[in-house]
């Protein structure tokens, strides 16, 4: 199948099912679908000819026999029997999203005044004064045409609203679950709005509870208001038959801080795109990521940090460990506008290859239009330090264990940046398990493998 054929299949799927797709979302949201259809028809599915997708052969992963889950009422699953996730010592507001549809919120306990955590579709109807201000404002099809595809099929996802000056102490945990007896194409559309002076932590975990294949197009728009602060941690843990295109569009106001940390442990294809617009002075963006891939996995990260205003700082640290036949890619674009004086932008990509077939491509891209800035970028792709390995062995630590210690130390630089200590410790444990080739489920998860 060619990209054009797939494009046509998808646009036909959309037009044939328009009524059902647009049924639960507001007219305002549905209105965006028209432009998205035009954009998607014009821009198409990215191929290797697109600079941003040079190292990612999407068609390889997107083609295949998939159903499309459009009607959530058809989902009859008792998730409690299948899945329970909690991190000891970390009390969170848990939201479950099943096959892209908001399932429910666990312990819908006491939320501080004005905080909203609910289904995206519901929010579009119930809270138009908030949704209409931000929906579709930050996602740009010109940056990634798959964003247009998402807007086209967007039905549900999560909506988080933190009112002015509210500090949400308890983190919000979004658990995305894929569970089906057929291979599915899923779409998730999310919106986070943090008003002036607010603060929140959001943890998003992606899991599949079966061996079916899922292709997920996920898009999250984030508005970080003046002086607001958001900590955003993602754990990608889907099965190796699945693919995920994850687009995160972040818009930051003056003095705001947005920190994201993506830990990718499992999944067939993962494409993480992060687009940040620093549209207020003295804002800070920290983007971190660590992945481990082997077999035939492909994990690609694309970042695009746009410094529009002066005095902003962006820090990027992305690390990867590749084994077996895995491949990875990192492409980091830093765009500094003419008036973005005193910009500080740092980017680092460090990767370790453990096997002969492992491949990594790392590419910086800096476009700087102001003289008074400080920008650095660096990339390394190599093997474990043999001197360090020998040093550990010379003290009696076995070869395998010494290697793991070094890989663990390597990953820890990124995982250590997770602010919530219990979450950080859980991530370290999961990463260690992944290094040892074990399935990465927390002890508390009752995940059953359905054959």
């Amino acid at each position: 199948m060619t990209t054009l054929e797939l494009q046509e299949e998808l646009t036909n799927l959309y037009t044939d099912n328009y009524d059902r797709i647009s049924e639960d979302t507001s007219a305002f949201v549905n209105h965006y679908r028209e432009q998205a259809l035009e954009d998607f028809k014009r821009l198409g599915i990215p191929t290797k000819k697109n600079e941003a997708y040079r190292y990612t052969d999407l068609m390889n992963y997107l083609k295949g026999d998939y159903s499309y889950e459009i009607d959530p009422s058809k989902l009859s699953v008792n998730l409690d029997e299948l899945f329970r996730c909690d991190i000891p010592e970390l009390d969170t507001h848990i939201v479950l999203i099943l096959n892209g549809f908001y399932y429910r919120q666990n312990n819908p306990g006491i939320l501080p005044e004005g905080v909203i955590i609910c289904s995206f579709a519901e929010a579009s109807i119930k809270y138009p004064e908030i949704v209409n201000k931000h929906y579709g404002r930050y996602a740009e099809a010109s940056l990634d045409s798959l964003a247009a595809l998402n807007t086209l099929f967007a039905q549900d996802g999560f909506f988080i609203y933190i009112p002015e000056d509210v500090i949400l102490d308890k983190p919000i945990q979004i658990i995305n679950i894929g569970y089906s007896f057929k291979n599915l194409r899923l779409t998730r559309r999310n919106l986070i709005v943090a008003e002036k002076g607010s603060s929140a932590s959001v943890l998003v975990c992606d899991h599949t509870l079966c061996l079916q294949s899922f292709i997920t197009n996920s898009l999250t728009e984030v508005y970080t208001g003046e002086n607001a602060s958001i900590d955003y941690v993602k754990l990608q843990n889907e099965n190796s038959n699945s693919s995920q295109i994850s687009n995160t569009f972040v818009y930051q106001e003056t003095k705001s801080t947005f920190t994201s940390n993506t830990v990718s442990l499992h999944g067939g294809l993962i494409r993480n795109n992060l687009f940040v617009k620093l549209n207020g002075e003295s804002a800070t963006n920290n983007a971190y990521g660590i992945f481990f891939c082997d077999d035939k996995q492909h994990i690609a990260t694309y970042t695009h940090i746009h410094h529009v205003k002066p005095n902003c700082q962006s820090n990027q640290l992305f690390k990867g460990i590749i084994d077996g036949d895995g491949t990875g890619a990192f492409s980091g674009k830093i765009l500094v506008d003419k008036y973005a004086i005193k910009t500080q932008a740092y980017q680092r990509s460090n990767n370790i290859l453990l096997s002969k077939n492992a491949r990594m491509n790392s590419k910086p891209h800096l476009e700087i239009y102001n003289d008074d800035v400080k920008c650095t970028h660096g990339a390394t792709i190599g093997q474990l330090d043999t001197d360090a390995l020998f040093y550990l062995r010379s003290r009696g630590i076995g070869y395998t264990e010494a290697r793991q210690l070094l890989m663990y130390a390597f990953a820890n630089e990124v995982i250590g940046k997770i602010n919530l200590v219990p979450l950080r410790e859980r991530m370290i444990q999961l990463f260690e398990k992944r290094l040892k080739g074990e399935l990465t489920h927390c002890e508390n998860c009752n995940i059953h493998r359905i054959a």
């Binding site: 330090d385 360090a388 010379s394 009696g396 210690l405 630089e413």
Partner: protein, 246 residues
């Protein structure tokens, strides 16, 4: 304890050691001196099992066993310890985790129960005093940001924890000022007993005033050209190495 017989070692096709013979018994301190390029570090590397060094002839027997058959970690567990000339920095691996894992590997090998976290910390506290190393350093990643002197002290600190049977000190004095030298030497002396042995590899006689050897061997161009008592070191100090090079 250690018997080296007619050892020939090459690296990348070039022969560095050309027939070394050396016997070391428990309780002894042997100094190995020699000019640059004579093969001193190669000897240390071969004893600890560093890759890329080919033993083309000869044998090394340690405690009655063929040493060359053993992997580096096996040699370490049997009591061989190398204090590196240039200890590597390992960011992200904490000193505590590193040493606890190392000592527990050794204990496992000797059929002993592993030390609990609190017992290990107690052990660390005791041993820190031997080299006057501060908590500041032991709370960090292995050698990260350590000065030259601190790195050397850290080597002896590790030696104090692991209590090796055969310690090889590779140019432990390089980069040390007088005070650091005294502390390091004092540490080494505190650790010696009748059951263990030490090989001190050095250029200069100065260290040997603090760590007094029983035997001094001079290595020139891959061969031991002279072996004697500690006075040999003083002779070298006066005359240099040239008179031995013929």
């Amino acid at each position: 304890m250690l018997e080296i017989k007619n050892l020939h070692v090459s690296i990348e096709g070039k022969e560095i050691l050309k027939g070394i013979n050396l016997t070391i018994h428990a309780g002894e301190i042997h100094a190995i001196m020699g000019p640059n390029g004579s093969g001193k570090s190669t000897l240390a590397a071969v004893l600890t099992g560093r890759e890329n060094y080919n033993v083309t002839e000869g044998s090394i027997t340690y405690l009655g066993e063929d040493l060359l058959d053993l992997a580096p970690e096996e040699r370490a567990r049997k009591g061989i310890f190398l204090s590196f000339q240039y200890p590597v920095e390992i960011p992200g691996v904490s000193m505590v985790n590193f040493m606890k894992t190392a000592i527990n590997e050794q204990r496992k090998f000797n059929n002993l129960e592993p030390l609990s976290a609190s017992d290990f910390l107690k052990l660390m506290r005791e041993k820190k005093e031997i080299v006057e190393i501060t908590s500041n350093l032991t709370n960090r990643s292995v050698n990260e940001g350590f000065s030259g002197g601190e790195k050397k002290k850290n080597e002896i600190f590790q030696m104090a924890i692991l209590e090796p049977k055969l310690a090889i000190l590779d140019e432990t004095d390089s980069g040390l000022d007088i005070d650091a030298l005294r502390i390091v030497a004092n540490g080494v002396n505190q650790l010696r007993n009748q059951e263990n042995a030490t090989i001190v590899i050095t250029h200069y006689q100065r260290l040997l005033e603090y760590i007094v050897p029983d035997f001094v061997h001079v290595l020139v161009k891959g061969k031991i050209v002279r072996s004697s008592g500690k006075e040999l070191a003083l002779e070298l100090e006066e005359k240099g190495y040239d008179w031995l090079k013929e």
